[in-house]
């Protein structure tokens, strides 16, 4: 199960809406071993594409170094689908390299950049196997 604060949930959704129709991507960092996503880090999609994303490599190195310095890990790795469902594509599964991360997918297919509904789902991707998990959004401070 993914437990995530309302604030971080809203940050991810806002990023996905803002970058629509391109895919948005980023991480939510948390203390190593905690499974607690607390620090929202939006990343640049170097592909600037509606069908593909890739973290900008220079930015990724900088962010990964900060993780090491703070003893944090990418608890959540998120990206958006802008024309399809919030489910990992074959490419997403093939490239998933973090078996301990929660892979969050947000679909803005219905909302676009507007206020309409978005799909928000979370998955584990381990050795090519996708397992959906429950998402619990908790009010801040609880």
């Amino acid at each position: 199960m993914l437990r995530i604060s309302q604030t971080v949930y809203d940050d991810i959704v806002a990023h996905a809406r803002r970058d629509h129709p391109d895919e948005a991507c980023g991480i939510v960092a948390g203390p190593a071993g905690s499974d607690d996503p607390v620090r929202f880090v939006p990343m640049t999609n170097a592909e600037r594409s509606p069908t593909f994303f890739r973290f900008d490599s220079t930015e990724q190195l900088k962010v990964w170094r900060e993780l090491d310095e703070r003893d944090q890990v990418p608890v959540v790795i998120y990206h958006s689908h802008t024309a399809t469902a919030a489910y990992p594509s074959r490419t997403d599964v093939g490239l998933a390299a973090e078996p301990d991360a929660h892979y969050v997918l947000v679909s803005t297919a219905e909302s676009g950049r507007g206020d309409g509904p978005v799909e928000f789902r979370s998955f584990r991707i381990v050795e090519g196997e996708v397992t959906e998990e429950e998402v619990e959004v908790v009010r801040d401070g609880s």
Binding site: S49, R54, S57, Q60, L61, S89, L95, P99
Partner: protein, 91 residues
Amino acid sequence: MAVEVRIPTILRTYTGGAKAVEGSGATLAEVIDSVERTNPGIKPRLLDGGDLRRFINVYVNDEDVRFLGGLATSVGDGDVVVVLPAVAGGA
């Protein structure tokens, strides 16, 4: 010419769990060959058909080697090579 090579979690099965290993060589290609000699099996995870794999990022002193000379990038004593799997996907 000792070079420190930092290994991402997913490839530490080839380094006995080590986060960093020592390599040597005048170019990135030579450093990778030297690391393969002490950590067999790691090279095919970095290279595909003589080129760096598309979804593996390699940095020499914090510069993505794609913006330098790729596998021909020069390395020197005390340089740091970082390997990071790209975070990527597509709809």
